[in-house]
């Protein structure tokens, strides 16, 4: 081989040099036999992960585990921080889910981080819904990916965000409708929380969702962030208490004492909740309905044709599942909204198992949302 022409291949065809060529962590040849076998097996694992990621993931699933060490029915640890944008927004919440997978000494952390903030606008209600307010959702963010000049990638991501926006908007609107309906027992209808003055004034809740990092399962994190931000949006201004109509100005609404209202909002504290710890300290408040979702990947084992549900799939796992099932649960009534598309048919047993997992997740998150 001529020295003037650099070869694309390393001079010796050993695994360690192939790992260097592929920019993988290398092993030293002076280690003991046991260490070298384990370190070489971890190099093989890394090689498999980069050359055939589907087989890499399927090898874990066949052993009924996942690359990050979770069980099939286990969600990633999640943390919710509310009120960090006060007083600039009416309510806010930051949801973070993190998972770490370790091969030998190499650790890979994937994080999903979603920030939701709410603002309130006062306006005129629609003529066909004079006693209801309005909810508008905007989804933005790059998801932690540097799209740059990749126009097609940017367009695809915007399309995904648009679908997520439509789903969040519909879910929040249905939750608000359900709230009005459920409180109307006994013939005495309790008005919508966004109503101010029938036919004349109502609140528009604008929810802005910013995807800071996309590590998989954006839907669950975004809905949880919206619900936590909505719950953090207190107190809502009320007619007669915070707002008064001024007849001289054509019945327009004016703040009674705007500084006092802002101070009331600013004095609420920032809270951090860990989704895996059930805090049932405050059970005195009446339960309010929230909606939480649980996304599961569906995978069919090709050997025995059994169907498995992978709770909270990561971004890496989502590429190789055979279907995606998202179950939205109402925390008060337990009603389900299943959304499924995939190649694997789901039987009644699979649906019942998914419902059970979703209910358990809803119970876990309800402790945070209702506290």
């Amino acid at each position: 081989m001529e020295e003037s022409k650099p070869s694309p291949f390393p001079p010796s065809a050993s695994l360690s040099t192939l790992g260097e060529w592929l920019d993988l962590p290398t092993t030293t040849t002076t280690t003991t036999t046991i260490n070298s076998s384990s370190s070489s097996s971890s190099s093989n694992l890394l090689l498999l992960q980069s050359l055939d990621p589907q087989q890499y993931v399927h090898d874990f699933w066949k052993n009924r585990t996942r690359p990050d060490g979770r069980l099939f029915s286990q969600s990633r640890p999640c943390k919710v921080v509310t009120g960090m944008l006060r007083p600039h927004s009416a309510g806010s919440a930051l949801v973070t889910t993190t998972t770490t997978s370790t091969i030998n000494t190499t650790s890979t952390t994937t994080t999903t981080k979603v920030l939701a903030a709410t603002t309130l606008h006062i306006g005129q209600p629609s003529p066909d819904r004079p006693d209801r307010g309005d909810i508008v959702v905007h989804v933005t963010g790059s998801g932690g990916h540097n799209i740059g000049t990749d126009f097609l990638g940017n367009k695809q991501q915007q399309q995904n965000w648009d679908v997520l926006q439509a789903w969040l908007q519909r879910t929040l609107e249905e939750e608000e409708e359900q709230q009005v309906e459920e409180d109307g027992n006994g013939g005495c209808a309790i008005p919508s929380r966004l109503k101010l003055w029938t036919g004349k004034a109502a609140l528009r809740l604008v929810v802005t969702v910013h995807i800071l990092e996309d590590g998989g399962n954006i839907e669950d994190a975004a809905l949880l962030a919206c619900m936590a931000a909505w719950k953090d949006t207190t107190p809502l201004p009320q007619l007669g208490k915070d707002l008064v109509p001024v007849p001289e100005r054509g019945g327009a609404l004016f703040w009674k004492n705007h500084e006092a209202y802002l101070e009331k909002r600013a004095t609420a504290t920032i809270t951090t909740e860990d989704c895996n710890n059930n805090n049932n300290d405050n059970n005195d408040r009446p339960p309010r309905a929230f909606r939480v979702s649980l996304t599961m990947g569906v995978w069919r084992d090709p050997q025995d044709q059994t169907t498995h549900l992978l709770v909270d799939p990561s971004l890496h796992e989502k590429q190789f599942v055979d279907g995606t099932l998202t179950m939205v649960v109402d925390t008060s009534s337990g009603r389900l909204q299943p959304q499924y598309t995939g190649k694997v048919p789901l039987t009644a047993n699979d649906l019942a198992l998914a419902a059970k997992l979703s209910q358990a997740r809803a119970d876990e998150l309800a402790a945070i949302l209702l506290s």
């Binding site: 009603r335 389900l336 959304q339």
Partner: protein, 259 residues
């Protein structure tokens, strides 16, 4: 008297004249190859809900970077008839489009069409309930007309689940499930009803391949009851597809060979 007759009718018939038991589909009609520019087209009618579908492809994508070297891609475009409520229809169109894209990608043999795009354009001509199911059936009929290989034939069933409510004083303890609801039925009991759309196929009638839910949600037992209803309804639609295809083939043979 007319008043008592109308009350009796309310108990025995649904608003569009179907029996109140709720397990009857609306009359179906399908016309294949109704547009000549597209590779495949179908006009699907279910009662007063009319959808026109056109399929273009498999063709090479306009942007080469959009090619997938291993699999074909499916693109779904939906145009709604209702232009009044723009924002609501935009959101609905996005969700429907994503759902149909996922279902059609799973049922089309995309491995046979690498580097190709199959564009499905759906125009809603008239809307009277069960829109998502009609969109899917129209798309499948147009794909069959275009001669695109399908791994299975998806069938969508719309179930309106009316939950028991104590607002009006009556004690309805069991939910009612109405098959293939009209628009009036979907919005009638807005507060205590949910619409569940289930997709399955004839070979696995008891299992679902897709699901989409609107409204407040349903209890688990009602969801499983909807799966049972869908499993019984999924035999009727493929038979109707076969009938429509046979009529088209017969019509074309008479046209081609007539002197």
């Amino acid at each position: 008297m007319a008043g008592s007759n109308s009350n009796t009718n309310k108990r025995t018939l649904r608003p569009d004249g179907r029996p109140s038991q709720g397990n009857t589909l609306r009359p179906l009609a399908c016309e294949l190859s109704c547009t000549h520019r597209a590779d495949g087209s179908a006009l699907w009618k279910a009662g007063l809900t009319h959808v026109l579908a056109a399929v273009y492809g498999p063709i090479a994508p306009l942007v080469i970077a959009k090619e997938n070297p291993n699999l074909g891609m499916v693109s779904v475009v939906i145009k709604m008839a209702d232009q009044g409520q723009q924002q609501q229809s935009n959101n609905q169109t996005l969700e429907y489009g994503q759902f149909l894209h996922d279902v059609l990608t799973a049922c089309i043999d995309v491995a046979k069409f690498p580097r190709c795009v199959m564009e499905v354009v759906l125009q809603v001509i008239q809307s009277d309930g069960s829109m998502l199911a009609c969109l899917l059936h129209a798309a499948v009929a147009a794909l069959m007309d275009a001669g695109i290989d399908l791994l299975y034939m998806p069938v969508a069933t719309t179930c309106l689940v009316v939950l028991p409510s104590s607002l009006d004083g009556t004690k309805k303890k069991k939910s009612r499930i109405l098959l293939d609801p009209t628009s009036a039925e979907e919005f009638e009991d807005d507060d205590c009803s949910s619409v569940v759309v289930l997709v399955n196929e004839k070979n696995h009638p008891g299992a679902i391949l897709g699901s989409h839910t609107f409204g407040g949600g349903v209890p688990l037992e009602d969801l499983l009851a909807c799966v049972q209803v869908a499993s019984k309804a999924c035999h009727a639609i493929p038979a109707f597809f076969r009938l429509a295809m046979e009529q088209k083939v017969t019509r074309e043979s008479q046209t081609l060979w007539s002197r």
